[in-house]
Every structure is written in structure tokens, then in C-alpha cells.
Symmetry: C2
Subunit: 712 residues, 2 copies
């Protein structure tokens, strides 16, 4: 029998780093230090007796949360966040248990133990905080704690003879613990053991036996030889703050030449940085910046008959000048790109790239790696199609190629290449049409080296596929927000995003528009409609973005009625945006983004709470920090055409308020202050003035007690 | 590349047994036939490239139901039942999928495949029926089906050139399939492949390509080399009908001597069989029948001061005459017991034994295996205790003994011993105070040899512990039914038992009373109260039982006020039951049990449906067979003292009825017939006559159309 301490709980601190050898002892059957605890459940066969494991382990652990798909996928957090872990922990009979949450940085051999505390109904809870980027692991371990049971029983015994015998049993436990203890603790424990068996007065000996001091020391040297570990080692991906709170601005660099009709350059974009920084964006995202294919190039408005000077779609990647690791010569050289990235950083902005795993017919890959594509019986490469539609300017990769390992390796190297150029944020185009297995591997490999890399999944597809991509590793995900415009739609969708298990791994990023999506609400909602969608995105979701100039300038003409494509889309031509137009939303966008920066309540989503309003056109919701030091209350008139009014029914408890209490709400947009009282409060919003309030709530109003002379 | 067929779907039948070699091919990386399909996901490492598995596998499977705790525990079914399996199955992009449910008897190497069909939202469903006792296994396997995608696309293509090229691609697929096919099918496929590429008219060739005949043949030889198997092999324990539908009668054999004051025998019990069979019971359950300890024996009413002739508690097991494998000499010899078991079988009754893993101080185990017990520092064995309470007549086993393997083996052999005597139903006493790990092992081992063995868990403990025992293998479980007496309590508890995941493994057995529990409702409810509890148990739950004579005779005196113990409990003394007393519930019990036997709706629980009544004292619920050929509607007045009336609001859809329809309800207790109409119907129940209706519902009433001469 191994007498070494197994899990080293230090009572003097909440958590403590335990040394490798202690941990190894927990996993009796497992060999090397740092092996998963779950190995404790590994098979052990005795001749003639078939049973996997040590039958004396009496504790069972189930219902561990958070745990995604049996621990197959990690949850996600950002630096400084806490993971609250719960589990059902039970044993047979009436013995008391001890239970610890164990965690460590992945591949770091030392586990740390934090005590878990019982709630009700066999549920236990513990927590730990993540302070480094990368992956953490956690699991739950528990054991029958005979010392705890003994102590509990001792205080209830009444017969002197029983007490005397129990004290002898206790002394044995202390002696055993002393064998694991430091010299100092061992001496103390041995002395205490002798005292329990001494001829001192029985009541005094019981007093010594149940002392907190002894309990604390015994907790440091628990007898957890028969501890049970949860079946799974669970993982957390820890990102930096930008993964949770980011503000994106999408732009096509080629549209920013000061000379009309000329192809813009990275240098031209540098001139836009002050304006974009002033609006409060921290991510500028470019559509693909690579050479654009010439074969089957699309013309303006996605026509098949381009003019000779048509610039084509940036998503038709690759030409004789290069592919996914080259820049379009008209945009400048790679050095220019690196210079832009550096300059943007000076403004607190990161450049995000669009990675689209597909090739124009003249992409160098097609000749260099014909085995990465599907071939048709006529000897041509299979282009993208959805019969009867054909996309002959795009060749998809064949993820069933026998050369899949080389393909994956090359695709991964594209991210690595751009990381070398200073990029760490990627918006991935249509990830749901590429191999799931590849994404899990690729994102894992990239983030292992660059743990603050951010992958935004541009997958507008079926819900379970979108969730799968998030589970596989995508840091953020596009959503259905664009098509959720009415109050019930918004409440239902946001409740799903923020209140279900999905919030452990699926981080939404809300976009009112994209170059692909000019939603009907924006087409017909005018200026008020744009403001409504902007405020909803920016306050409902800690990550949001706009397809910049088109949104600022409230561009709202579709290709044709019923279409969500922009007319004269920037996807197929160079545009000129008069970003200094006086009716631009620029100032308002800047104000809203400043509000987001100043209010941590808006930098997270789990604390979203909807409040009823007796008008279906008015939506009201709040967000707050855990400590209630920042409470934001947003009221939006979803009707962009008419003034709407109604009574808000605040859920006061959610805001830390008591019924009957007065409080001040300060509209951070209009700077107006209102005194509200209790649950029911009246709102009226004229969309032609401003269709929304963004209130900061001050829980306490001034009273006479605030005057120095009140108390005399 | 392995060209063999992988999963052999026969289109001519819903399911088909596939030969071992075919199955083996699915699990490419796994070696031997019969290995789990999940092995297909096993690690495969290529030099310099770390990835576990074949990266070309593009399908993912998640959300498989039913699956208990990641497949750690089996679900339960009885012979002839169907398991409906669902899963989320997805791939990247737009390719079509094929998905099969695979199942087999455990340790039977041949898997059978049944096709799964898509529902909505990436959900697929399939099913299989279990026709043999023991364990079955099932899992889900799916793959990208290029033939299906090709066929789907072909019918949408418009350009002649595209169609011609697609036909050539199709011909290649047919040729590949032919390599796996029988000679006859191969010839057909090759001929069809030639036709697709022939110079016949294009439309005709498309007609040949999309034919159902070809689709069916290609489904038989699918290209599923890159199939994905679900991570887990899931299991079903298949019991016989008695596991789902049983009617228990508990009795103490020692109380049935015809001579007053004399210890009854097994022979005496034989005389009771006709009466018990006539009441419709199919299980007679005896408290332990072993020699009763003499050391620290309890007296009448659980006193510590027994008279010399006190018989003691049957749960104080073991004396010089023997232990768990011996019979109490006063009951007769082992042969007498076997004779009783055989005689009971003639009456359609099985004898169930109480297995209580604990020892009286004079049990032979204590001397033979001192290492199986805990020892106190004073050299005495640790008796059961819950300080300050002491149970000095009971020694529990120490499941942390280093000799646990021998202990487990011996405890298992107790079940095996009684199985040899003809017993296969066991009521296990306080299983929650014995090692969970042992139960999972022991029940698994016993049922491997005796698959129709039934284990009823007598665990009145915390909910998660009760569920854990059911997961570990207990066939049936005692419940909180005894303490659920009001309408909201009953609805909440039965909804939990019948409508949540627990119903996959937790089979409730309802007991209105036991020798340990004389509930307050029975103490004060009188005859009507007893009938209410009887009808609720017998109709809400397909398994139910009574502590027989005490219930028949409405014994209702507690040991003292506030206690749930019977006064002069049969646990500690020999009783004389005047079972022929004219006010006995015997006839009513017999009638209710006949109703249960004749109505399959009452032999299952998943179809339970509550119907609102506008009176909190009246509860109404229905059960029906899947085909609606048997519909039982129960109405109970829960107030045993006053007449109650109200309007029942039937959920017609649940009963297969249309609104506005008339139907007949036939009270199987009173034999009254009522004509009901639509949703709202009036009920009035006088508890002093009969507090309940058990209606059989006839969905159709006779009309003039039923007369021969109606149509002239």
C-alpha cells in the first residue's frame, strides 16, 4: 500500500500547487507523473477475477459541468475568467466525502487542487481562474473521508465507552497521517494522537479531537488512496480579451485610392486608420488580399461577362502572381502589408484577414497539386456547383484526397505565413464547406504556437453545423442575428445564445450587414433602421462588426427587389466611398463604441437579461458586471417609422434593486437623466430623433443623507 | 484501398444480417472481426504528422439518444420492445449522407444494419427490436454517399455537356460497386454502366441513371470506406416481461402456521398459494429466510430486551445453523423451499427472495472471514451505527477490505446459490449502503448466466443514488411513491419517472405499504384511503406490490403517533392474519389485478398522460397501447373522507379522439357505462362507495350507421 500523500490540500490557502509525485500517487495504476487521473480507472486484472479497477473505490462522480460532449471538446474562456465546476459526487452508505477540483495548464505536469464544497442533492461545486493563454485541463477527484466521518460521529456519541474506543480509532488515523507529513506537522500529529489516547479527562480529549486545528491539518494529509477521478480530463481554451470583446470594421483596401478609378493600396488604407480608430474599432478586416484569378473572372454585379479592366472578386484566389501566401500586386508588396499591420497596431487596431480555402482556376496549386482537386471524366477540374448553378471561377479542394495530410499541412501553413506577417485574427470563409476534422486539427495546431490567434467562422448554415465548428475550435462565430429583427425573434435567439450550454463554446459575433447581406430591414428602415440594428448588435453582443463604409453611409439599394445583395457590390468592383458625407453615422458609431469600451457590462454576454415591455415594438434588456458596479439598460424601438411608447417592467432583482427603490438612469446617447422608481417605468421613443436609449443605471439616488450637515 | 463492401445494406428488407467480414471492413484500422466500430476512430500516426484517425472521414455524429452517461451504462428493455435511436449526423458542404443503425447481441460477432432516415435539423432516426434476453449493443455509422449526391445533382442539371460528363462519372461509380457485388448484381451494374456511357439518347440515359432500381442496388453496395462510427458502443439490457409488468405480494412465511403461536413453514405457505394466485399476484416476496442471529437479538417492537421465545428479525442474518445460503430450520428444509418454489410456479407465481448483505454477530462469516468486517481498537467487530444510534445486532461488511475480491465473489455466490434453488427474482435490502462498484460487477456477472434474473433495489435514499443503482444494473427500483399523496406531488413525480431520460433505465415499482412503512395517509385514510393508494399504485405503475396481509386487512395502527412503523410489527414477531375477514380488500385487489392483466395499457408506463381536473382532490390520467387498441382512463378522488366532483378536461389528441366526438367509458370496477362527449366531462366520486373509476375507453360509439338497414 502506497502511504504517500495523494492530493495535497493545503488548508492555509484556497488552492495550492501540489508537486508531481503527490499527483502521481493519485493515479496508482498509471505509471508516469502527469498522466491523466482518469487512468486511475484503467483495467487491473487479477487471475480468475475479472474487474477493471480497484473495487475498493467507493465514490462515483457524474454529471460534471461544464463538459461538452463527454469532454470531447473544450470550453472557452478569456484571461482572468473563472470556471465554476459542478459534479454529482456520491458514495454508498453514510460516510462523508472530500472532493477537489484539479486543474493545470495542459502539458504542465503539476496539477493544482481546489476544494469543492457540497451544495444540495449530492451536487458539489468548485472553481478556478485562468491566468495564462492556451489550454487548461480540469477534472474532479473525490474520496471517502474517514477522518471527516469519524469527527462527525464523535461529536454525537454519548456512551463513555464508545467515545473512548472512538478516540483510539482516531489516534490511529492521526498516526497514519503523520507518516505523510512534514517533520513539524508529523510531530504535532503524533503528540495529538498520544493526547487522544491519554488518561486525560474524556471531554477534554473529545475537545482536542474535534478541534478545527486538527481538522485543518488532517485535510492537508488526507487518506485518499482510494480516490476516484472523473472519467474525463476536460479542457478550457483560454483566449485573450479580444476573443470576448471586439469591434470589427470590414473594408476592401482597393477602394481607398485618393485617385478616382485607381486601385487602392495598403498605403492608402493607412490614411484611413485615424478615422476608423476614432470610431472605436479595434479590428479591421480585409476580404482576401491575394492575386485574383483571371480565368472565368466575374464582372461587375457578379456577371459572367467581365470587361477587360474588371478587378474581379477577391474570393477568386490565385493567379500567376501567386496564391494564398501572396498579396495582390496592385495592393502593394508584402512589406507594405506588414507596415500597415504595424501602423494599425499603433492605433490599437489589429488587421484581420479573410482566409478562403478555394482556388481560382489559375491558382498555382492547381498545377502543383492536381491531386488536391476532384477531376471530371473529361480531364477538367471539378468547379464549385450546386446544380443547376455553376461557379466556374472557383475550384474547391477535395478533402477526401489520398494526399490529405499534405493538403492539411499546406493549408495550416497559410495561417502560419500570415501570423509571421503580424496577423493573428482570421475570418474564415465558409468553413462549413471544408472538412470538420481538418479544422479541429488545424486550429489546435495553430493555437498551440499562437495561443492568442482568433478564428471567426463565417458559417451561415444549419444550427448544429455552426455549433460543431465552434466546438472544433472556432473562437467566434457569425450568427443569425441579421435575420432576427422582431422582439420575439431577438429574445428567443439571444436566450439560446447566452443561457444554454452553447455559451460555453460558441461566441457570437453580430453583424448588421456584410458585403453579402443587405437585410430587408436595412433596405427599408432608413437611418432609424440602421441605428436600431447598430445599437442591437453593439449592446446585445460583446463582439460585433459592420461592413464599414456601406453601413456608415446607410447604403441600402439591393441588386434587385427581393435580393439581399448590394447593387454594384464592392465584391466585384472598386468603389468610392464619400466617408465624410455629413449624414454619415460615423459620429454615432464612435459614441456607441466608446460606450462599449467604458462599460464592462457590455463586454460580456452571459449576464443578458430581458425585461418585459407592454409594446411589441419596444425591446428592453440589461447587462451588468458580476459585482453590479456597471449596469447598462438598453431600450430600443424596433419600429423605424413610428414613435412607440410603453411601460417597461424591470426585473429589479436582476439589477440588484429592491422594489420601491428609486434610481437614476442616464442616457449615454442623449446625455439625458431620468429618475425612475420601482418596477414600472414609462418610455417613449421617436425613431426620427433617436430610436433607442442606452442607459447607465445608478442604483442609488442622492438623498438628504448625502449632505454633510444632515447628521449635524 | 480496401474494395470490399463495408456495410451491407439490403434494399429488399428493412434490416439484414451482414456477414462478419463485411463488418470488419468498416473498422478499417481495427483488426479482428467483431471489434467495436468505434475502433475506426483509433489513432493512426504518420511520421511527422500528428493526427488520430483518417482525416478523409468527413461525417460527424453527435447527440446520440438513448445514451446514458456517454454510454457508460446500458438502457433497459423487455423482449419484443423496440429501441428508437436518433443522432445528429453532419458533414461539411452539401453532399448527401447515408446513415445506419448497427446492432447485435453482445459478444455475437455479426452486426445487423438498419437504415436511419433523416428527420429535420440534421437529426436521423432508426430503430430495432430486441427478441432475445441478455445484452444487445448498438451504434450509429454514417458516411458521405457520393452516389446519392450524384443522383440528386443529375436530375437538376440542364446543360447537355454537363449531363454527359456526369453520366460518365456515374458509370465509374457503378463499375466500382460491381467489384463488390454478387456475380448477378455485378453483371447488371456493368451493363447499366455501359448504358450510361452509350450513345443512346441523353434523356433516356438520365432516366436509366436515376431509376429506383439502380438506387436500390447501389444502396446494397455502398462506398462507405470513409464511414464514421459513433464514439461509443451502446448497450441494452433485455429482460423478460416480468421486469416491466409484475405484481408483488410480500409475506412472512413464519406467520402462516394453522396452529396459533407456532412457527410457520414453507409447507404452510403452499396452502396460501391458491388465495394469492386468485388475487392475481405473480411474485411472492419473502423477507430473509435464513437462520436468525441470537446475539443481540431484538425483541417485539424492536426492543433490546427480547423474551427467550422471541423469534427475532429475519434481517439479522446468520447463526450457528448457517448464513445466507441456509434456510431457517423452523421454516423447513432446503427441499421444502424448492418444493414451494415449484408449486408456486404451477400457480404462475415466482418466489422472490430478500437478499440483505449484512450479518448477525453469530453469522459464520464473522469467524470464517474476519477480514471482511471493520474491527474496533478494542478487538470487537464494528456494528452498524449512526451515532448516537447503535444497531448491535447487525455487522456490515467492510467494502474497503483488501480481500474485496473474495468478498465480492462470495456475495455473488449467494445469488447463484438461490438461482440453483429455482429463484430468479431478488429484492435487495438497502443496496445503497453497499459498494456501487460491486453491484455493477455482481449484477452483470449474475445476469450473464441468468439473463432473466430480476433485481429490485430497496433503496429509499437520495434521488441521484437511487438513479445510480438503476444505472448500475438494478432491474426495478422502489420509489418515493409512498410519500407522494397529493395531486401536484403525484403529477410531478410521475412526470419525472415516465417522461425523462431516467425512464430508459429506472423501472419504478410502487408500494403503498411495506413492513417498514405505514404511511400517514394509510393510518388516517381508512378503507377509502387504502383503495386510493392501491389503485394509484396498480394503475400508475406497471410494477407494484403490497405488504400483503397488512394491506388486505387495512392494518393501520402505528407503533406510536408520528411513526411509520407498524405496531407489533411482523418484523419482530409471528403474526396471525385473519385473511378471510369479510371486510378484507381481497376481492377488490383481485379485480384490480385482473384489470391489469387484461389491459396491456396498464403494463407499461411511458404512455402515461395526465388530464386536468378543476378540483385539486381529483386526479385523472390515461394510459394506452401504442396502437390505441387499449385505452385506460383512471379518475381518483384523493380525499378519502368526502365526496368530490369536478370537470375532467381530456387531452383528446393523446387518446386518439377528435374534438366533438362521442365515446363510451366503461368503469371496469363498477361495470357502469357512461357516454362522454368531447373534452369536458363531469365526474363525482364518493369515497365511501368507491373513490375511483378505472375506465376502459371505447373510441367509437354505435350510431344509426351500424344498423344493417341504415343504408337500405
Amino acid at each position: 500500500m502506497d502511504k504517500k500523500p495523494l492530493i495535497n490540500n493545503n488548508n492555509t490557502a484556497d488552492v495550492e500547487k501540489s508537486a508531481v509525485p503527490d499527483e502521481a500517487a493519485v493515479i496508482e495504476e498509471a505509471g508516469a507523473a502527469g498522466e491523466p487521473l482518469a487512468a486511475a480507472n484503467a483495467a487491473r486484472h487479477t487471475a480468475g477475477f475479472e474487474y477493471a479497477g480497484d473495487g475498493r473505490k467507493r465514490v462515483v462522480i457524474e454529471g460534471v459541468k461544464p463538459e461538452i460532449d463527454d469532454g470531447q471538446f473544450p470550453i472557452k474562456r478569456v484571461l482572468g475568467e473563472t470556471i465554476v465546476v459542478e459534479a454529482d459526487v456520491m458514495t454508498d452508505g453514510h460516510d462523508l466525502l472530500s472532493c477537489v477540483l484539479q486543474y493545470r495548464r495542459k502539458d504542465d505536469s503539476a496539477w493544482t487542487s481546489a476544494p469543492m464544497k457540497p451544495l444540495v442533492n449530492d451536487r458539489w461545486r468548485g472553481e478556478f481562474t485562468v491566468r495564462e493563454l492556451g489550454r487548461y485541463q480540469y477534472t474532479v477527484t473525490a474520496w471517502v473521508d474517514h477522518f471527516k466521518s469519524w469527527r462527525h460521529d464523535l461529536s454525537r456519541r454519548v456512551q463513555q465507552e464508545d467515545i473512548a474506543i472512538a478516540l483510539r480509532a482516531g489516534a490511529e488515523m492521526l498516526a497514519r497521517a503523520s507518516a505523510q507529513a512534514t517533520a513539524e506537522d508529523a510531530a504535532w500529529l503524533k503528540a495529538r494522537a498520544r493526547a487522544l489516547e491519554s488518561d486525560q479527562e474524556l471531554g477534554y480529549r473529545v475537545h482536542l479531537a474535534v478541534s478545527e486545528e486538527l481538522a485543518a491539518l488532517m485535510e492537508r494529509y488526507p487518506d485518499n488512496r482510494l480516490a476516484t477521478a472523473h472519467d474525463h480530463i476536460l479542457e478550457v481554451v483560454v483566449d485573450d480579451e479580444r476573443a470576448r470583446f471586439s469591434t470589427w470594421y470590414e473594408m476592401f483596401p482597393r477602394s481607398y485610392s485618393p485617385t478616382p478609378g485607381q486601385h487602392g493600396t495598403f498605403k492608402d488604407v493607412e490614411a484611413q486608420l485615424p478615422r476608423i480608430a476614432d470610431m472605436g474599432f479595434d479590428v479591421i478586416y480585409f476580404p482576401p488580399i491575394h492575386p485574383i484569378g483571371r480565368i472565368n473572372r466575374k464582372g461587375k454585379n457578379n456577371t459572367l461577362t467581365p470587361e477587360p479592366d474588371d478587378v474581379g472578386s477577391p474570393w477568386a484566389i490565385g493567379a500567376r502572381e501567386g496564391g494564398h501566401k501572396a498579396v495582390h500586386p496592385a495592393l502593394g508588396a508584402l512589406e507594405d502589408f506588414r507596415a500597415l499591420v504595424a501602423k494599425a497596431k499603433d492605433y490599437g487596431i489589429e488587421i484581420a484577414l479573410d482566409i478562403a480555402f478555394q482556388c481560382a482556376p489559375d491558382h498555382p496549386y492547381v498545377k502543383a497539386h492536381p491531386e488536391w482537386f476532384r477531376w471530371r471524366p473529361d480531364g477538367t477540374v471539378q468547379y464549385a456547383e450546386n446544380p443547376p448553378k455553376k461557379y466556374q471561377d472557383i475550384y474547391p479542394f477535395n478533402f477526401e484526397t489520398e494526399d490529405w495530410q499534405a493538403l492539411w499541412t499546406e493549408l495550416k501553413s497559410i495561417f502560419e505565413f500570415w501570423i509571421e506577417q503580424g496577423v493573428r485574427i482570421f475570418r474564415v470563409d465558409n468553413p462549413h464547406t471544408k472538412s470538420f476534422a481538418m479544422w479541429e486539427w488545424l486550429i489546435g495546431e495553430v493555437k498551440a504556437k499562437q495561443p492568442n490567434a482568433i478564428f471567426l467562422a463565417e458559417a451561415f448554415t444549419r444550427p448544429k453545423v455552426m455549433h460543431r465548428l465552434a466546438k472544433l475550435g472556432y473562437t467566434q462565430s457569425y450568427t443569425y442575428f441579421t435575420w432576427r429583427n422582431t422582439k420575439p425573434e431577438l429574445i428567443e435567439y439571444l436566450t439560446e445564445l447566452t443561457q444554454t450550454e452553447g455559451q460555453e463554446y460558441f461566441r457570437p459575433n453580430f453583424w448588421p450587414n456584410t458585403p453579402d447581406i443587405l437585410n430587408e430591414y436595412l433596405q427599408y428602415g432608413g437611418r432609424a433602421g440602421a441605428i436600431v440594428r447598430l445599437v442591437l448588435a453593439a449592446t446585445l453582443c460583446s463582439n460585433y462588426g459592420i461592413y464599414g463604409p456601406a453601413f456608415e453611409l446607410m447604403e441600402n439599394t439591393p441588386l434587385k427587389p427581393g435580393s439581399e445583395e448590394y447593387l454594384d457590390s464592392e465584391k466585384y468592383e472598386i468603389k468610392r466611398w464619400n466617408v465624410n458625407r455629413p449624414d454619415s453615422l460615423r459620429e454615432l458609431i464612435g459614441l456607441i463604441n466608446r460606450i462599449r469600451r467604458r462599460n464592462p457590462a457590455l463586454q460580456q454576454n452571459a449576464n443578458l437579461h430581458f425585461h418585459p415591455v407592454n409594446n411589441e415594438e419596444i425591446i428592453c434588456f440589461s447587462k451588468h458586471t458580476d459585482d453590479l458596479s456597471d449596469i447598462i439598460l438598453v431600450v430600443v424601438n424596433l419600429d423605424p417609422h413610428h414613435t412607440q411608447s410603453g411601460w417597461v417592467n424591470l426585473s429589479l432583482a436582476a439589477l440588484g434593486l429592491e422594489s420601491g427603490q428609486s434610481f437614476q438612469v442616464h442616457d449615454l446617447l442623449s446625455q439625458a437623466h431620468y429618475l425612475w422608481h420601482g418596477t414600472r417605468n414609462f418610455v417613449e421613443l421617436n425613431p426620427h430623433i433617436l430610436p433607442t436609449h442606452i442607459f447607465r443605471l445608478h442604483r442609488r439616488t442622492h438623498t438628504e443623507r448625502d449632505f454633510d450637515y444632515f447628521l449635524g
